[in-house]
Structure formats: structure tokens, C-alpha cells
């Protein structure tokens, strides 16, 4: 479902922040992306989501080379095929939890389906939060709504950035199990970037990023 080939990324010429020769995640597979802060986990997720363009190499998602898409088509592709769980899970503060899910459908140009949105919230155990605004929710509830938002369009790929870093042990275990279970149920490929070692026991496959800037000849 995800295939990275000869990937290379850097902000400045001559300095390569990230190099990955080959990285493949099949549909239904889950991978933990490990490494300390600052070694490019988030960057790699953004590359896979088409939010950043690699300096070299190719990114395939669901068989599509992201570089082949125009900017607008890439945005649409992301809305349809990729679900993101963001670091600060950031829900839109002026909309209710339920509306936050409906926005996802609208932005991906899918018909608005309230019952589907409610079903996803139910799966994550936060259906009672549907009409609450984000500031009325606990951190754990917000995190679950954020995961629901990533899943509501049944994306082929779910990318999660530190989904558990703000949670206590109990919530952490619950949230990661929900995320894994929901992704498996939908048949989505799941990539979780984290430095939270609590997650290692939940996900079998680990990918550790080499944490150093590699100098390449200019």
C-alpha cells in the first residue's frame, strides 16, 4: 500500500536529513516508526502524505506515484486515501466533534454521511461527544475523536504522529488498541511514528530511523 524507493530528503542542498532505500507497508500491515526526536519521523510521515516532496526517490501510495500528481490532485488524493492523526490531534476548535468528522467527508468531496461519522465515533467509544466542542472534551476524548477523524473516510493508509504521547498508560493502551483494531477492520495500512516505547509491545513490526544527518556530495 505504501512503497518508498531510494528516498532522500533535506531542506538544504548538500545536507541530507533522511535517507531510506526501501520501505514497504502492505495493506492491513502495521508499522511502528521509531527513533528519538528530530530524526525525521514526522518528516517521513509528511513525505508519505504528500505534504512534502522528496529531493530524490519516489513515494507510492495505493500504487500511485505522488510526484506524478498535480498539487490539486495530490490534495484530493490525500483527502480520499490517507488518514492523518496529527501530533497535537488538533480538532477544528469552532466545530463540534461530529462536525469535525463531517468536514473530512466534505473536503474529500464525499457525500456527507452523518450515520457513518457517528458509527466511527462509536467504534472509538466517544459517540456521546458528537455534539461537544473540542474544548469541552478531555485530552483522551480529543485523541479518540482525532483518530475517528483519520478513519472516517475509510482511507487506504493511516499515518499517526505520536498518537499516545499525551496519554497516561491506561489510555495509551486503549487508544493504540482502538487504532490498530479500527485500521485492521478497514484494511488500512497503518504507520505510527512515535518515541513512546510503551507501544513496542503492541505492534510487531518496527522500523528504526537512523538518527544522523548524512553528508552527501553536492
Amino acid at each position: 500500500m505504501i512503497r518508498l524507493e531510494q528516498l532522500e530528503f533535506g531542506y538544504r542542498r548538500g545536507e541530507s536529513l533522511l535517507r531510506l532505500d526501501r520501505f514497504v507497508v502492505a495493506g492491513n500491515d502495521s508499522v511502528l516508526l521509531l527513533g528519538p526526536s528530530g530524526c525525521g519521523k514526522t518528516t517521513l510521515l509528511h513525505l508519505m502524505a504528500g505534504l512534502l516532496a522528496p529531493r530524490a526517490g519516489r513515494v507510492f501510495v495505493d500504487g500511485q506515484d505522488l510526484a506524478q500528481l498535480s498539487a490539486g490532485a495530490r490534495d484530493r488524493f490525500r483527502g480520499n486515501r490517507i488518514g492523518l492523526v496529527l501530533q497535537q490531534f488538533h480538532l477544528l476548535p469552532t466545530l463540534t466533534a461530529g462536525q469535525n468528522l463531517l468536514v473530512v467527508q466534505t473536503m474529500a468531496r464525499l457525500p456527507v454521511d452523518r450515520s457513518a461519522a457517528l458509527a466511527v465515533l462509536q467504534t472509538l467509544g466517544v459517540s456521546e461527544c458528537a455534539n461537544s466542542y473540542p474544548h469541552e472534551l478531555s485530552v483522551g476524548q480529543q485523541q479518540r475523536v482525532a483518530i475517528a477523524r483519520a478513519l472516517v473516510n475509510s482511507p487506504k493508509v493511516v499515518l499517526a504522529d505520536e498518537p499516545t504521547s499525551n496519554l497516561d498508560d491506561e489510555s495509551c493502551a486503549a487508544v493504540i488498541d482502538l487504532l490498530l483494531g479500527a485500521a485492521r477492520k478497514q484494511g488500512s495500512a497503518l504507520v505510527i511514528a512515535t518515541h513512546d516505547s510503551r507501544l513496542k509491545s503492541h505492534v510487531a513490526r518496527h522500523q528504526v530511523l537512523p538518527c544522523r544527518a548524512v553528508q552527501v556530495p553536492a
Partner: protein, 400 residues
């Protein structure tokens, strides 16, 4: 949850900011709208009152006074002209019709005009009840006069000397109402019309001595003559001939109204410019609000992008937010403008001045929303452009 709904959620989320911007836009629109509506109404009122009158002739004096007194019945007339000169004018082949007006008396502040039935015809005056006068001391009331005075056909009243209310009463000259006109939307609504003989009779008294009567009748005067040309060519020669060849003065209502309008126009321009300044302030306030919102919402914008929104959609979101505020402010401003006009109309009505309609809406009025909408577009342009160009990956990687 489309862009419009999201924009609306932002408008609702910061009520104070929304209120400030709506108030500013409303004030700007109301100021400009007030001027435009009043201009339109006064222009319409002047045009209706001056319809069918090609030339106004009266005693020498200010041309504008002559028009104001003779056509709009606002100012004091310049003096009287002799009946003979009126007859002379009527005999002129360039003149199709002469309508004499004898002014001087009033009834509860409404002017009593001695004239001929042609004057009613000028404004298509139709009778609601009764008929036209047939003899002296019979009166026809305009619609407003009848309504305000609360009298109708068969009632009697006495005129008072002078054009304003409160002059000495001609107690022995009693008018009988023989007709009430339907509203015409013209100056006729505010007039009491009688035949010319009535006015002479009131001021001369009953003349018994035939010798005296003959002398007095030969000296009879009227105040103002309204002329209709027989041919458009008359406009080129007749006014000059009257102004230089007689002791009378001729003024064209079209020309003088235009001049009058130009004088009012300077004041109108000042108010309009003030409205423009308020609206520019509104645009600046809106711009600052949106620009500020960019920083607050950097993450929201990035999130929307990850959900598949194109850069153009993000810019559109800010435009929609500005447009919602402009539209709300503009509509409130329009209502406010009409309320201001209503206040002015009430004042002018109590002054027996021009009639303006406060609550008539025209479709072209919605053009008055354009300045507000333009201000909103201007205010949203830079923030929209910046929002569209935001580096989402960098925003999402930011740690808090």
C-alpha cells in the same frame, strides 16, 4: 460541513470581533446609503412637482426663490405681477397655457392657492370625494391637508393671512370644502386650492361701490404664472424676452432645480466621503482581524489541507468569512439608512417641506452593498493569499 459552514463557525466563534466589524461596515453603508436614498427621493420629488411646467414667471427677485415658492411651495414668493401682464403672456403664440397662482394665505400651515382647474390637471389630481370649485369661497383640499386637518366635503374653515401657521385670521371669509383629492405624491397633496377670485375676494372685501369695484378690479394681481410652451423653440427666446422686456422675471424649473441640487450636492458629497472613510476603516479592521486570525488558525488551516482542501479553498474560506461580515453589516446598514431617512422625512413633513418616502425599497439599492463587499474582498486578499501559500508541513511539525 462545507466551506461556508466552516466560515460561519468562525464568525460565530468570536462574537466581539464579529460585532465590531459588522458595526463598522453597517455605519459606513448607512452613511452612504442615507445620502443616496435622500438624493434619489428629493430628486424624484422635485421632478414630480416640476412636471409639465416649462417656465415660472413672477416679480423680479431671486430665481430660486421664485421656483421654490411657485413650484415647490416652500419659500416666500418674490412679489406680485399684474393680471394684465398675465393676459398679455397668455396671448403670446409661443405660450400654450398659463396657470396663474395667487398666494398669500394659509390654513393650518398649508398654503391656500388661488388658481384655475388647469393646476389640478398638471398633477393629474383626481377627486376622492366631491368636485372642483365652481364659485368663490369654495375649496379643494389636497390629500395630506384633509387627513391632517380632519375635515372633508361640506366642512368649513377660515384662512389665515401669511404663508406660515399663526397669522391673523380672515375671520369673515369662510371657505367651504367642496372636494378632496386623492394622493398624488406631489406638492398638490399639501395645498388647498381655490379659484383666483376667492383670494381677491378675501383681500378686497365685498365691494359695493361700482366705481371703486372697477378700479380695484383693474389693479388685480396674481403672484406667480406657470407657463407651458407651445413649441420647444420658446425656451430660446421667451425667458430672455420676459427678463429684459418686462418688469417680471422668468425662471426655468429644470434649470433652477439642477442648480439647487448642485448646491445640496456639495453637502451630499461630504457625507458620502465620510461614509467612504468609515467603510475604509471597516476594511482595515477586517483586514487586521483576518490577518491576526491567520496566526491563530495556522494549525486549523494546515489540518484542512491534510484533509484534502486545496490552497484555493483555504483562501476562499477567508473570503467567505469576510463576505459574511460584509453582507450582514451591509444589510443592517441599509436598514439603518432607511431609519435615518424616516427621521428626516418626519422632520420635513412637520416643516411642510418636500415629501420623501422612507420605507420604499428599490432593487438598485442593493448596489449599496457593493462598497461593503468590495471592502471585504480587499481586506481578505492578502490574508487569503498568505493562507493559501502556508507551508503546512512546517506548521504541523511545530511543537507547542
Amino acid at each position: 460541513m462545507n466551506l461556508l459552514q466552516i466560515a460561519w463557525s468562525y464568525v460565530r466563534a468570536s462574537p466581539l470581533r464579529t460585532l465590531l466589524n459588522i458595526v463598522l461596515i453597517a455605519l459606513g453603508t448607512a452613511t452612504i446609503g442615507f445620502v443616496v436614498i435622500v438624493n434619489e427621493q428629493i430628486g424624484g420629488s422635485l421632478n414630480r412637482d416640476a412636471q409639465g411646467i416649462d417656465l415660472v414667471v413672477g416679480a423680479k427677485g431671486s430665481a430660486i426663490s421664485l421656483i421654490l415658492a411657485g413650484v415647490f411651495h416652500i419659500d416666500a414668493p418674490t412679489g406680485n405681477v399684474s393680471l394684465d401682464s398675465a393676459r398679455e403672456l397668455a396671448a403670446n403664440p409661443l405660450v400654450k397655457k398659463v396657470i396663474p397662482l395667487s398666494l398669500g394665505d394659509s390654513f393650518r400651515g398649508f398654503r391656500i392657492v388661488g388658481t384655475t382647474p388647469d393646476y389640478l390637471g398638471l398633477y393629474d389630481g383626481a377627486f376622492a370625494t366631491g368636485r372642483a370649485w365652481e364659485d368663490k369661497m369654495q375649496a379643494v383640499l389636497g390629500a395630506t391637508v384633509a387627513a391632517k386637518a380632519g375635515i372633508g366635503v361640506g366642512d368649513t374653515f377660515v384662512g389665515s393671512h401669511g404663508l406660515g401657521a399663526g397669522g391673523p385670521i380672515h375671520a369673515d371669509s369662510v371657505y367651504t370644502v367642496v372636494g378632496v383629492l386623492k394622493p398624488t405624491g406631489t406638492v398638490l397633496d399639501r395645498l388647498v386650492t381655490v379659484n383666483s377670485e376667492s383670494v381677491w375676494f378675501v383681500h378686497e372685501g365685498a365691494l359695493t361701490d361700482p366705481e371703486e369695484k372697477k378700479v380695484v378690479e383693474s389693479e388685480r394681481e396674481v403672484t406667480i404664472l406657470l407657463l407651458q410652451y407651445a413649441t420647444p423653440m420658446a425656451a430660446a427666446t421667451l425667458p430672455r424676452k420676459i427678463n429684459s422686456g418686462t418688469n417680471m422675471q422668468a425662471a426655468s424649473p429644470a434649470l433652477e432645480s439642477a442648480r439647487l441640487f448642485q448646491m445640496i450636492g456639495v453637502g451630499a458629497d461630504v457625507i458620502r466621503a465620510f461614509g467612504g472613510v468609515v467603510l475604509a476603516t471597516a476594511a482595515l479592521s477586517l483586514f487586521i482581524a483576518l490577518y491576526h486570525a491567520l496566526n491563530e488558525r495556522a494549525y486549523d488551516i494546515a489540518v484542512l489541507r491534510t484533509l484534502g482542501a486545496r490552497p484555493l479553498s483555504i483562501a476562499l474560506l477567508l473570503f467567505l468569512e469576510a463576505l459574511i461580515l460584509a453582507l450582514l453589516g451591509g444589510l443592517i446598514g441599509l436598514m439603518l439608512a432607511h431609519a435615518l431617512v424616516a427621521v428626516l422625512a418626519a422632520w420635513m413633513d412637520s416643516e411642510q417641506s418636500l415629501r420623501i418616502q422612507a420605507w420604499t425599497f428599490s432593487a438598485s439599492e442593493f448596489l449599496l452593498l457593493l462598497p461593503a463587499l468590495f471592502a471585504a474582498m480587499l481586506a481578505a486578499a492578502l490574508p487569503g493569499w498568505r493562507a493559501a501559500r502556508a507551508n503546512i508541513s512546517a506548521v504541523l511539525s511545530r511543537r507547542f
